[in-house]
């Protein structure tokens, strides 16, 4: 079931995109050198829309999310370049105090590991209720009522009784629901979900994804889904950004990306995952290993692993994002050719 992307006017009459990230660069200072974890990433998100940021470990997808959330530890991290605008308001360089007012109320984030993201020594109810007390100034008992409400909304059974329970007393799926309840309690306009279902069993994963979709439908929230799992993304997101070694490799609508990928890396990823519906003699694997971020190869970072790599790929500059069709860009010198081949096996 596909949903149309709704471009609705935001609060205060803002009509632009809910979030726009432009040329974001994030780097970490380490003893071994400067790690450029995110390198010129741009994307936009409208209210009610879901975009997915897809990538393997070390691709910079989580760092991007944390940069938007403003919870990177600076130092060692820094944002030397780029802009993040929430409904037109620049977030890069915002004071901690101002950022704090945005976090939790306008942007919220759920993390991959709900167990370690919940304070183990405070009851879950209290962890939710404190959002109401802090942001809405509710009294202790009102906050409790509100918290139980939101717990019910994310379908935690016997919410009132379980208010005083601690995170470890819940199953993985329930914990992630609590995390979601906490984060949507202030009805944020933007929710970032960083691998929200990676730690869950498939049956539970389906439950949680369904819940997220439902909440988003009800509240017209923008959702950024960070994941490495191409399957999870397929029916949830409208648009996808594929990242590799801190760079955007390809960006486009879900259908475009899956049907007509324009980047060899995306193709490699799609090919290499085993399909439930078919069996093959051999899985077409991407050769080699992802690069170390301290020593990203010059030119296209994917070139050592790319079957199409030519000399031009091995030299700087790296290929620019080339538009292959409307709203579909790819960073590859051969983007057009690849796109034209229509996702053929590489």
């Amino acid at each position: 079931m596909s949903r149309a992307v709704r471009k609705t006017a935001g609060a205060e009459g803002w009509t632009g995109p809910l979030l726009s990230v432009e040329d974001l660069n994030v780097q970490f200072k380490t003893r071994d050198g400067l790690v450029r974890a995110v390198n010129g990433v741009s994307f936009e998100l409208n209210a009610g829309e879901t975009i997915a940021i897809l990538g393997e470990s070390g691709s910079g997808k989580s760092v991007t999310a944390q940069a938007v959330m403003g919870i990177l530890d600076m130092p060692p991290a820094s944002i030397p370049k780029g802009s993040i605008r929430l409904k037109g308001r620049e977030l890069v360089g915002l004071s901690e105090k101002d950022y704090r007012e945005i976090r939790g109320t306008q942007i919220a984030m759920i993390f991959q590991d709900a167990l370690s993201s919940l304070n183990p020594v405070i009851s879950v109810g209290e962890q939710i209720a404190e959002m109401y007390r802090l942001h809405d100034g509710l009294s202790r008992s009102d906050a409790k009522t509100a918290a139980i409400d939101v717990m019910q909304r994310v379908r935690i059974p016997a919410a009132a009784q379980r208010f005083g329970d601690y995170p470890h007393q819940f199953s993985g799926g329930m914990r992630q629901r609590i995390m979601i309840a906490m984060m949507i309690s202030q009805r944020p306009q933007l929710l970032i979900a960083d691998e929200p279902t990676t730690a869950l069993d498939v049956t539970v994963q389906a439950q949680v994804m369904e819940l997220l979709a439902e909440l988003q439908r009800d509240s017209d929230m923008g959702l950024i889904l960070i994941t490495h799992d191409l399957g999870v993304v397929a029916d949830v997101a409208q648009r996808i950004t594929v990242m590799y070694a801190g760079r955007t490799m390809e960006q486009g609508t879900v259908d475009e990306i899956y049907d007509q990928p324009a980047n060899p890396y995306t193709i490699g990823l799609l090919e290499s995952i085993p399909k439930l519906a078919e069996t093959v003699e051999r899985l077409p694997a991407i050769r080699g290993l992802p690069p170390n971020l301290l020593q990203v190869p010059p030119g296209c970072p994917f070139h050592p692993r790319c079957p199409l790599a030519q000399d031009v790929c091995r030299r700087d500059p790296r290929p620019p994002l080339e538009t292959v069709s409307e709203g579909h860009v790819s960073s590859c010198w051969f983007a057009k050719e690849v796109h034209a081949r229509g996702g053929l096996r590489v």
Binding site: D229, D235, P274, T279
Partner: protein, 359 residues
């Protein structure tokens, strides 16, 4: 489409591994001075299967279902509470400790986590060479340990020059190759692969899968492939055993399970696997199971799945369904209301309207 057209169980040769009514209970103890048992966790309860030569049996299920315990029972890391394991027709329980140690060579294991399954203080040479220290007779005549380690590394796609390095200097995929080389060293007949690729990145996962399949073909290995990932299982397995809370839900050949599943749990599992194809995914019929896996310390009565099953009726909580053959040969299902339903093809299988149940 499927690699194997015929049911491998029909193969004439004797199974290399036969498991009969395998069970493992863990005691729950409590006591002030002396611990006494106050209950049991039935981690594995009455699992039986046969593994023909050069084939792969996959055990699938959610976390906590007992699938890894089966692997560990097979490889001798745990003592079964009940049941027998036959390797080449020999019941392991009847062997003397010495003979058992020798027989152990035939079953090796590849563990789940490439980061913890290699001793961080040993070089790769020591790790891969250790099997020869323990079983000196396994070293082929006229070959040094060093040479064998080199060969093994080469075989699993590692540069033998790296033999002096330490595990942490390798990436996850490379480490898993080291683990595989170690398991291969003794030339086993059976390898228990316990979630061997679940910890790996997508692009690496395929490389390791391919390696495993190559090795199977080259050495005539038989695998018991423990996994929660049905997509992966589909690529490698000849037979699939679905477990739920320590018990068998359904067993059958790969096509039987994936295309003609009959157990509601198998169907739910299949339906929940996300498919990286937006169109297909949107059109798929989905069954969302309510609730979580119950605790193995207090499993539901009779059919353990009945608390989450949309087909459950009164009988399910009273009478334990025994594995029975419903469709093809070798396809057993433990459900009172088993019914075929295709969950993966675009051609929708008929059957009940999936109901949502909330716990």
């Amino acid at each position: 489409m499927a690699v194997f057209e015929s049911d491998p169980v029909l193969s004439e040769s004797d199974p290399v591994l036969k498991v009969v009514d395998l069970a493992k209970d863990y005691p729950i103890t409590r006591g002030i001075l002396f611990r006494k048992q106050i209950g049991t966790v039935s981690a594995v309860d009455g699992i039986s299967f046969e593994l023909p030569r050069a084939q792969t049996l996959a055990i699938v299920g959610e976390s906590g279902c007992g699938k890894s315990t089966v692997g560990r029972l097979l490889v001798g890391l745990e003592r079964p509470t009940r049941g027998s394991v036959f390797v080449d027709g020999v019941d392991l329980a009847t062997l003397s400790p010495k003979a058992l140690l020798a027989k152990r060579r035939d079953i090796q294991i590849v563990l789940q986590d490439p980061y913890t399954s290699l001793d961080p203080r040993s070089t790769v040479r020591k790790i891969i060479g250790e099997p020869f220290d323990i079983h000196p007779s396994a070293l082929p005549k006229g070959k040094t340990k060093k040479a064998m380690v080199g060969e093994l590394m080469d075989r699993v796609g590692l540069n033998p020059e790296f033999a002096n390095r330490y595990p942490h200097q390798f990436s996850g995929g490379q480490r898993q190759r080291i683990g595989i080389a170690r398991a291969l060293a003794l030339r086993p007949k059976i390898i228990i692969a316990d979630e061997p690729v679940s910890a790996l990145d997508v692009s690496i996962q395929a490389q390791v899968m391919n390696l495993l399949m190559d090795l199977r073909d080259d050495f005539g290995l038989s695998y018991v492939f423990v996994s929660h990932d049905l997509s992966v299982v589909r690529q490698i397995a000849d037979r699939v055993l679905v477990m739920y809370l320590g018990r068998l839900a359904e067993i059958g050949s790969e096509p039987q399970i994936f295309e003609h599943s009959t157990h509601p749990y198998t169907q739910a599992l299949l339906s929940a696997v996300p498919v990286p194809d937006p169109q297909h995914q949107r059109e798929r019929e989905s069954i969302t199971l309510g609730g979580d896996l119950p605790s193995p310390a207090a499993p539901p009565s009779a059919c353990r799945f009945h608390t989450r099953c949309w087909k459950a009726q009164e009988i399910c909580s009273i009478e334990t369904p025994l594995p029975r053959q419903l469709l093809g040969e070798g396809h057993l299902v433990a459900c009172h209301f088993a019914e075929e339903r295709s969950m993966i093809g675009t051609a929708a299988g008929g059957g009940d309207q999936a109901q949502r149940r909330e716990p």
